[in-house]
């Protein structure tokens, strides 16, 4: 037997629950694709998307495309700090190439601090927190940002990439880590970063939405969000 094949011995067997896991993921993807299909009835799209998958949709930029950039975010707070920093709420690390990697924890409750840390690393950002109502797909204590004035897709991709490593305890990086490239941000632009947090913090479903590059450094107008009727 080849030495490479020997490493098969280290592969763990699937757990007994893997079938249920697979079925759950399948169901969610079906919901996502249904939601992204503009031909599907709006009410069905809204009610069928599980809360966590809704967050993933937003993180993946799918809802923003499918729903004409209708985002749900609450108010913004001020802030100020610097360097490679790890807090209970977030972690920011400046990389040698000038990029900045960040992640938020499920205890994320310090948008102002994250905003200051990013600002110190050359990233102008609006950082907001969405309080999700457990069991629902939408945040009711937030506001809608519609018709966001976004930079073109090429710039979005140049500025924001999924992944990167923050050298922080795992509970500080519970959701996707993002790497930002400040040098690729056009003058006068700013990021919009929204984090999704269950109102009771009972789950691990906190996470940062994909940062979006706005053409302007002014926070878009907030329209109060209403629960779906």
């Amino acid at each position: 037997m080849d030495e490479i094949t020997m490493f098969t011995a280290l592969r763990p067997s699937p757990p007994a629950g893997v079938n249920a896991m697979r079925a759950a993921v399948l169901e969610r993807v079906e919901d996502v694709l249904r939601d992204a299909d503009p031909a599907a009835p709006a009410r069905a799209r809204r009610t069928r998307v599980p809360r966590r998958w809704h967050r993933l949709l937003v993180a993946g930029g799918i809802i923003t495309a499918a729903a004409a950039a209708a985002l749900v975010v609450p108010a913004v707070l001020p802030g100020g700090t610097n360097g490679t920093i790890i807090t209970k709420a977030w972690a920011v690390e400046r990389n040698a190439d000038g990029s900045v990697t960040f992640s938020v924890s499920k205890q994320f409750d310090d948008p102002a601090g994250l905003r200051r840390a990013l600002k110190a690393d050359g990233v102008s950002a609006f950082v907001v927190v969405n309080r999700l109502i457990v069991g629902e797909s939408y945040a009711y204590d937030a506001c809608n940002y519609v018709n966001l004035d976004l930079e073109p897709d090429a710039i979005q991709k140049a500025v924001v990439t999924l992944g990167g490593h923050v050298d922080a305890p795992s509970d500080q990086v519970t959701w996707p880590t993002w790497t930002l490239h400040p040098a690729a941000m056009p003058r006068g632009s700013a990021l919009l970063i929204a984090s999704w947090l269950p109102s009771n913090r009972a789950t691990n479903n906190a996470g940062a939405m994909i940062p979006l590059v706005l053409r302007t450094d002014r926070l878009p107008v907030c329209t109060p969000n209403k629960p779906p009727s």
Binding site: M1, M6, V25, A36
Partner: protein, 199 residues
Amino acid sequence: MPATPVDAHAVEEDRSDAELIARSVADPSCFAAVFDRHADEILRYVHARLGPDLAEDVTAETFLAAFRSRDRYDTARPDARPWLYGIAVRQIASHRRAEARYRRLLAAAPPEIAAEDFGDRSAERVSAQRVRPQLTAVLDALRRQDRELLLLVAWAGLSYEESAAALGITVSAVKSRLNRIRMRTRSALGGSNPMNEEG
């Protein structure tokens, strides 16, 4: 020509991944077939790398990332598996600590070896169990990119060509790296291959 009833599902089955992905740019629902084909495999791989706690989320992240970048898929590649594995590898890389924890957990409590890996070659299974600690040590000591390659070949069963595509390297680089891993493994096992010895 008269219209003929067409089984849409059967038509999708006949299409290559590349065709489905290309069509999904205009019709996102076509991506469902790509998911149906490969989600099971990707989920098992992610589970093997990160454990049950993260498998579901990271698999979802993988397919979301794939969906978002479907317009950049190289349609000259009919099979999307290498592409999906490549995305999964990058997603897994953002969970290094969790991965390391899970590997330590596995090393501390070795799981049952999947029978299908060795079929009825029970002697090889016994030998593989015997050298688990050494193999674990080799795996831990590898550079990250070498470990990714090794696990794509040994755990995901990708060919050299598929692994090269997944990792964005050349096939000759794959061969070179695997040879290096072979030598390292042989050295860790005392210069012999226990699989070639009588069990």
